[in-house]
Symmetry: C2
Subunit: 437 residues, 2 copies
């Protein structure tokens, strides 16, 4: 394997950080970029990572101390076209791993400013990258994090990006028809189309990783030292479903399933995320090629996932209940779902399938950080697909209205900080947790 | 037919103005909205409408004087979310016809700022509308101008928006796979996905008119008085192909075909545009329905279109030559093309097919305004899909670099005015024209 210069965009995020460590450990030269906006959004949403994370500078210093390897860190906003151009010119990257987008579906559904922010932020950042690559690094490999959510839930098998369609006696291989389910998922689809076009007209090379829902919080590298921890989100805005179930189980709270729970999605372990990105990096797309890998290892319905967590707990004699909440999203709750995910396996992916051990390990991590859990975040979802953000978000919407009035595209980053940590609920949950130990 | 309150967004444009007159004449209450940015872009590009157009206020006053009918005009930028909300609340529209987007493919391909501007402008404006409709007029009918260019040139028949796909023994009706050919066309596709999603989750109703290339400059209403003229573009940025051929023929210049000229597209007469919009208006989509009409009447290859113009001239004993220029676009120059366009016919559209009479009438119009023709605009294309804007645009790109450096999404409206009107070329063309009269 030849050493590559790799820029990881969004290096401060849940997966960006773990990926940067993994690629650095594999011997690649890693440049890490982030605007740190995710930490700001946490302050605005009143949310935080369950596991404390260090500032970027401390993390990369620690990594260097532990391994002798250097991750070159710089703070930068991808929406700054001049900075993106300078980055590409200075680093001469072989590849760029692009995680640097607003990545929460509920966040994008809060209200108009958050929908606009999500789409403008994600599209403009990616356009800036594409033009910089055209002009200064046309042979670099763009590895873009997309999402399985671009496909929606069609009543036919989901292929990897393209499908051969026979129609009226003719046939063509065409982009798979897409039906995303939030303004966030739509932004990823818009990106996919823009990137595919840039590959076609400029001969760029790109891999669009249509990733499933990631769970877990440990990779070999992250596990080396607590100071290398990556973030772990469980709240209704930033958290993903399995992580949330594990926290609920740890606190003795019921697992909350939205609607019937028949919603089926692809899932993968964070260790497989970093392995998949590395496989894409070390087996680049050809010049002019736009390819799609469906990046997940197993598919589960939400209710099957809840049952898995319940059963893992039952094996230790712990009883866990499952409740169904009204679904805040507009989505099919019972549907056909069969998505292909062969291409990464063909490149050599060795999946970590979801087992009781992983579930217990996540629950163990949660218990170590139980004092940081905000139980309010585990109750009702606070963003509804039909009406937008509830309670705290209503206030935010008013605050941003003034900014919105400018006749500029709306990129409102701020809403008034919302601190929702009622002492009583937190105390009750801690008490419950203490009882079970 | 019941009278409707209709907001025409982009009323100052080529089709917006003609549509507003047509709907007003049909007895509907028309509110016309525009930011007038198109006139600013003309100043920036050094382009102008061949036919002089009056300021909006004069046009609507003249319309009132001639017909007694009122078009309620207000200047407004669709990117201003607060203004959009106020508009929807105040007008209680039955329908909104949305032409208010950056609509030139070459403009979007000049450079990064123009690509970003096109996508941000178009997406944010449409998102603002969607949220305003959700909150204040959920039963209003959104009629959105899309483009046949969203489909690209697949090797199968193009259906109207959706296709039934059979795959591995199952089937579903899914969005037709799209392959747009410029950042502009991509912006329309992004809009289509956003609108479709809003209909699904909020129950809005929308008609997406995937329109072909429009030609001609007269409708019954526009023809009432020279002061009611709508714009007529022929330059390489804003002009469409048949209009350009007619001007070239009028000036005795060769018709310039890009590449082989096998590029086949759908075309329609401007009289059919206004009729189609009216049909969509008077036969609205159902609540929650997102429907697509392919809005064109005939399909031609570019070289067939050039031959039609040449033959129309030959009938009057005038010789016209056809030259092939290197294609500035990246597109298939020979391909299968068969696009359905049945739904508007089913609603009662009576097409005006392209004939010699129309071509002669356009050429006649051109001759009346020959003094305003800038022959430089008829020579080489000035935007290349691979390299971006040439000559004048290089300069503009530098000017906007400073603005681009801000870490905000790039919405750069200005570039230094470009005045390219070499006296010698203009004189030569006028002389040629004079000889033929």
């Amino acid at each position: 394997m030849s050493k590559k210069t790799v820029v990881v965009l969004g290096v401060d995020g849940y997966l960006g950080w773990a990926t940067a460590l993994h690629l650095s450990q594999a011997g690649h030269d890693v440049v890490g970029i982030d605007s740190l906006v995710r930490r700001r959004w946490d302050r605005e949403c009143g949310t935080q990572s369950l596991i404390p994370i260090k500032p970027m500078k401390q993390r990369v210093n620690l990594w260097h101390r532990l391994t002798g390897r250097t991750i070159s860190w710089r703070k930068m906003d991808l929406r700054d076209a001049r900075a993106v151009t300078a980055l590409v010119k200075e680093t001469h990257p072989d590849a760029l791993i692009h995680f640097a987008e607003q990545r929460s579906a509920p966040f994008s559904m809060i209200d108009l400013p958050h929908a606009s922010l999500t789409q403008v932020n994600n599209l403009v950042g990616t356009l800036n990258l594409l033009f910089a690559l055209r002009d200064h690094a046309p042979r670099a490999h763009l590895i873009k994090l997309g999402t399985m959510g671009e496909y929606g839930t069609p009543n036919i098998d989901i292929e990897e990006g393209f499908i051969v369609i026979k129609h009226n006696g003719r046939e063509d291989r065409l982009p798979f028809p897409m039906q995303p389910g939030s303004f966030y998922h739509l932004s990823k689809l818009h990106d996919s189309h823009n990137i595919q076009f840039a590959c076609r007209i400029w001969g760029l090379r790109a891999t669009d990783l249509h990733q499933g829902v990631v769970y877990g919080n440990h990779t070999d590298e992250v596990a080396m030292h607590p100071g290398l921890a990556t973030r772990f989100d469980y709240d209704a805005i930033w958290g993903t479903v399995l992580n949330r179930f594990c926290i609920q189980a740890a606190l003795g709270l019921p697992l909350t399933v939205y609607g019937k729970g028949g919603q089926t999605r692809g899932f993968l372990d964070i260790r497989d995320t970093v392995a998949c990105v590395r496989l894409a990096l070390e087996h680049p797309a050809a010049g002019g090629e736009y390819r799609v890998f469906n990046q997940f290892t197993e598919q589960f319905s939400v209710k099957a996932l809840a049952a898995k967590v319940r059963d893992a707990r039952a094996a230790h004699g712990l009883k866990t209940s499952i409740v169904h909440l009204p679904n805040p999203r507009v989505e099919r709750e019972e549907h056909y779902y069969n998505a292909k995910h062969q291409k990464l396996l063909d490149l050599g992916l060795q999946p970590h399938y979801l087992g009781d051990t992983l579930i217990e390990s996540v629950i163990g991590t949660v218990e170590r950080h139980a004092a940081r859990v905000d139980p309010v975040e585990l109750e009702q979802p606070n963003v509804d697909w039909r009406r937008g953000g509830t309670a705290g978000w209503q206030k935010a919407a008013e605050t941003v209205a003034a900014v919105e009035a400018e006749t500029r595209p709306v990129v409102v980053l701020s809403s008034s900080p919302k601190r929702r940590r009622p002492a009583s609920a937190a105390a009750a949950a801690s008490a419950r947790l203490a009882q079970r130990r």
